[in-house]
Subunit: 229 residues, 2 copies
DNA sequence: ACAAAAGTGTTGAACGTACACCCATGC
DNA sequence: GCATGGGTGTACGTTCAACACTTTTGT
C-alpha cells in the first residue's frame, strides 16, 4: 500500500512479562536467546507482530507458543520505543504482562526449541535489551493494581484458602499483613464464595476453601462499589 | 537493515489527547483532516513516528507542531493496534495524553495549515478512526489518576486559588465536592505553597493564591507519603 | 502430647462526611 | 446595601491498626 509513507519504518514486537506464583514465591518466565544479539542471554518471551493480528492477539499467541497456557490474565503494560533499545535496528515493543498460577495450569516452560525457565524475582540473570526496565515497570504495575483491582486471584488456583490469599498479597506487595485484619477485610468485600470445603492432605488443621466470585464482583462494581486491598 | 524481518510491517503513529482547562470547562484539541480517509473530519492530532526519535519525542514534536506548547505534562496512554483501525493499511498508534492550562500558555490552535479547534468534552463532533475510543480511555485515565497523583495542577495556572483547584477536581471527576472538607484536605497535604498573594480584578473578595510545591512533593514521596485527592 | 496452622474480637486513633454561618470586597 | 464568593469548625460514623489466645487436626 503506497498511501501512507514509503519511508523506512520501525519494526513492532510484543514482549510478555509472565508472572507465576507457587509455593516458592513469585517467578517470571524467561527464554534463552538462540540468536544475536545477546545470544545465549535471557530475555522476555516475545516476537514480531504480524500484519493480520492485533497487539492483544500477538501477545496471546506468543504466550501460547512460549508457555502453552491460554485463557490467562493478559494486559498491555506500556510501549517502549527508545531509538536504540535494539542494537540491530529500530524496534518498538509493546509490552504485556500476564498472571498465571503454576498449580492449575501445568505451564510448559517452552513448546518451541528455545530453552526457557522460571526465575525467582530476586534471583534474576542479566536481561537482554531493555528488558530489565520492562520487568521493573511490570512489577510496579502489578503492585499498584493488585490493591484496587481483583487481579491477584489470577495468581492463585481456583480454590484457595485465606492463608494463600494473604500470602499472595504479601508476596506481591513485599510486606507482611496482619492476619485478623486481612481476613476481616477480605471477607467483608463480599466477593469470596465459601465453598464449604477444606484443604486435603495437609499435616495440620485444614483451612476452608474459597473461590473468587466474578459475577458478584461485576454486580458490586455496577452498583458503584470499590474493591480495595 | 536486513537483520530483522523483510516482511511487510505496520506503520507506527502517535496520537495526542490534549486536555485544556479554562473558565468554560475541560476541552480537547482536535484537528480537521485535510486528506482521505475521513477528509474534513475531526481527529486527534498525531503523525508518524520517525526513525530517529523515540515515542515520547514523537509525541512532543506533534504536540509542539499542532499547538505551539512545550514543557507540558505528557504521558503515554495506551497503544492501539486493531488490524483494521485504519482503513488504508495497518497502523499501530501509540496514544498519549497531555494536560495544559489555557491561561498560562497561549495555545496556538495550529501552526501548520490544518484547521484546529478546542471542543467542549460534552459537545464533540464524530471522530475519525477509533479516536473516540482513545479519547474515552484518556478521560478514564485522567479521572483515575488525578486522585492519587498531583497531575491536576498541570491544568491550572502557576498561581491558583483553592476555589480554582476545587473546580478543577469537580470538573475532572464529574461530581461536586464539599468546600470545607476539600480545603482542609488540600491544605493538610502540605504541598501547597501559600504565596501571600491574592487575586486581582475580581468583583468580590479576593482569594489567596497558592502554588504547587513540586520539591516538597518529591520530598514527601521519598518519605513514603501518599498523595490522595 | 506436640507441632502447625486455623480461626476469632476489642479498643483507640485517624480519617471522611455532613453541615451553616459570618466576612471581605467591588459595584 | 447588596451580591458574590472567601473563609472557617464541630460532631458523628466509619475505617484502619495494633494486638494474643484458643481450637483443630495430623503425626
Amino acid at each position: 500500500m503506497a498511501f501512507v509513507y514509503e519511508y523506512a519504518r520501525p519494526s513492532v514486537t510484543v514482549d510478555c512479562v509472565i508472572f507465576g506464583l507457587d509455593d516458592d514465591g513469585l517467578k517470571i518466565l524467561l527464554i534463552q536467546r538462540d540468536a544475536e544479539p545477546f545470544e545465549g542471554g535471557w530475555a522476555l518471551p516475545g516476537g514480531f507482530v504480524e500484519m493480520g493480528e492485533s497487539l492483544d492477539q500477538a501477545a496471546m499467541r506468543e504466550l501460547q507458543e512460549e508457555t502453552g497456557v491460554h485463557e490467562v490474565f493478559l494486559e498491555q503494560l506500556y510501549t517502549f520505543g527508545e531509538v536504540n533499545r535494539d542494537p540491530r535496528t529500530r524496534v518498538i515493543t509493546v509490552a504485556y504482562y500476564a498472571l498465571v498460577n503454576l498449580k492449575d495450569h501445568k505451564v510448559e516452560a517452552a513448546t518451541d526449541a528455545r530453552a526457557a525457565a522460571w526465575f525467582e524475582l530476586d534471583d534474576l540473570p542479566t536481561l537482554a535489551f531493555d528488558h530489565d526496565k520492562i520487568l521493573q515497570m511490570a512489577q510496579e504495575r502489578l503492585q499498584g493494581k493488585v490493591r484496587y483491582q481483583p487481579i491477584g486471584f489470577e495468581l492463585l488456583p481456583e480454590k484457595f484458602s485465606l492463608r494463600q490469599l494473604q500470602r499472595m498479597y504479601e508476596i506481591v506487595l513485599g510486606r507482611s499483613l496482619d492476619k485478623r485484619n486481612f481476613r476481616k477485610k477480605a471477607l467483608s468485600l463480599g466477593v469470596l464464595e465459601d465453598l464449604n470445603e477444606v484443604e486435603r492432605d495437609v499435616s495440620h488443621r485444614a483451612a476452608r476453601l474459597y473461590r473468587f466470585d466474578r459475577e458478584k464482583y461485576q454486580q458490586l462494581v455496577k452498583d458503584g462499589f470499590n474493591f480495595e486491598l
